[in-house]
């Protein structure tokens, strides 16, 4: 059971991505998924491990910091890393430009834009800080595309929350 604030934040991010994806023009198929993860096994070949199927979105908790804000509260800074990975499933040929475009669109419109929006408030508690921007660390990974016909994109999203010095939610 996840009780740590960093994990609860990731679970909320998973829910937000899933809700946005479901509401999009191309909702997830049954083989697609969004999940919180630490070290998922991602295989692009059938001989090493179960080969990845569909579009998988992994949400990773990252190190966080606490800074005293007042005589009773802290400001906690969290980072959440999101990995979007999908292997081109056509039997022959390379991934088409349209196929890659659709994944880049997904990363921007379903993941990055909603989660980097400074007006976002998650569970009445977490919010993207204005002074620290979200980043797209890897828009697409060219070696992954060429060697494995796989789309691979990584984003880092910062969030803040105000807590008491004990780490409890400020009522």
């Amino acid at each position: 059971m996840a009780n740590a604030r960093a994990l609860l934040l990731c679970d909320e991010v998973v829910s937000l991505i899933l809700a946005g994806w479901n509401a999009s023009a191309t909702p997830p198929a049954s083989i697609d998924g969004v999940q919180r993860a630490y070290s998922p096994t991602i295989s692009f070949t059938p001989d090493s491990a179960p080969q990845i199927e569909g579009r998988q979105v992994y949400v990773f908790p990252m190190p966080y910091t606490a800074t005293s804000q007042t005589r009773e509260t802290q400001l906690r800074d969290y980072l959440v890393k999101v990995l979007v990975v999908e292997q081109y499933s056509a039997a022959e040929g390379d991934p088409t430009t349209a196929w890659i475009d659709a994944r880049v669109n997904f990363c921007e419109q379903v993941v990055f834009n909603p989660l980097a929006n400074p007006r976002l408030v998650i569970a009445s508690q977490w919010f993207p800080p204005l002074e620290t921007e979200g980043t797209v660390d890897v828009l697409y990974d060219q070696p992954a595309l060429q060697e494995n016909k796989a789309f691979w994109s990584v984003m880092t999203l910062p969030f803040q929350e105000q807590t008491l010095w004990t780490g409890e939610i400020d009522p």
Binding site: S68, Q69, T70, R71, T73, P129, L130, E131
Partner: protein, 157 residues
């Protein structure tokens, strides 16, 4: 004797929500930085009796200034900002360098007016009020405070 450093984050700003004679001290905890000034004006008191420059203390500047995080609905915050906006409201504050029950803690207590409340509304900042309290004349005089016997002891300045 403890030689441990005493930290600014343990200092306290209290607002009296009771009467002056029977105070009820509400801690204003949404404070980050705060400065309690204690600077005496000086008058020259030189004479032929000595080559040393001499002074006499005259008036004490005991203003309090600091940063209070704006917190909607917090009673202390609301009272202070209402006082800032009012041309006449007087508050009774006590600023100590520790809890009001810890013997040896020092500070000042006085009726005051809130004379400044500058607020930086920049895009990347949490909202803080740069507030300043200054003593104001009432029938209750400003006091120095020393906590003794587990309670503040007031001495008129």
């Amino acid at each position: 004797m403890s030689t441990a450093a005493y930290l600014g984050r343990n200092a306290k700003l209290y607002l009296n929500t009771g009467s002056y004679g029977t105070p009820t001290w509400l801690e204003i905890a949404n404070i980050s930085d705060l400065t309690l000034n204690r600077a005496w004006d000086e008058s020259e008191a030189n004479s032929r009796e000595s080559a040393m420059k001499m002074i006499l203390k005259t008036l004490l500047d005991g203003g309090i200034s600091g940063k209070m995080r704006f917190t909607i609905g917090d009673s202390g915050t609301t009272t202070i900002i209402d006082a800032l906006n009012s041309p006449t409201t007087t508050l009774d504050v006590m600023c100590l360098n520790g809890p009001q029950t810890t013997n040896g803690v020092y500070g000042l207590r006085y009726p005051c007016q809130v004379t400044q409340g500058n607020e930086d509304q920049g895009l990347g900042v949490a909202l803080y009020e740069d507030i300043t309290f200054k003593p104001t004349p009432t029938t209750n005089p400003p006091c120095t405070v020393k906590v003794s016997g587990g309670a503040p002891v007031f001495t008129v300045v």
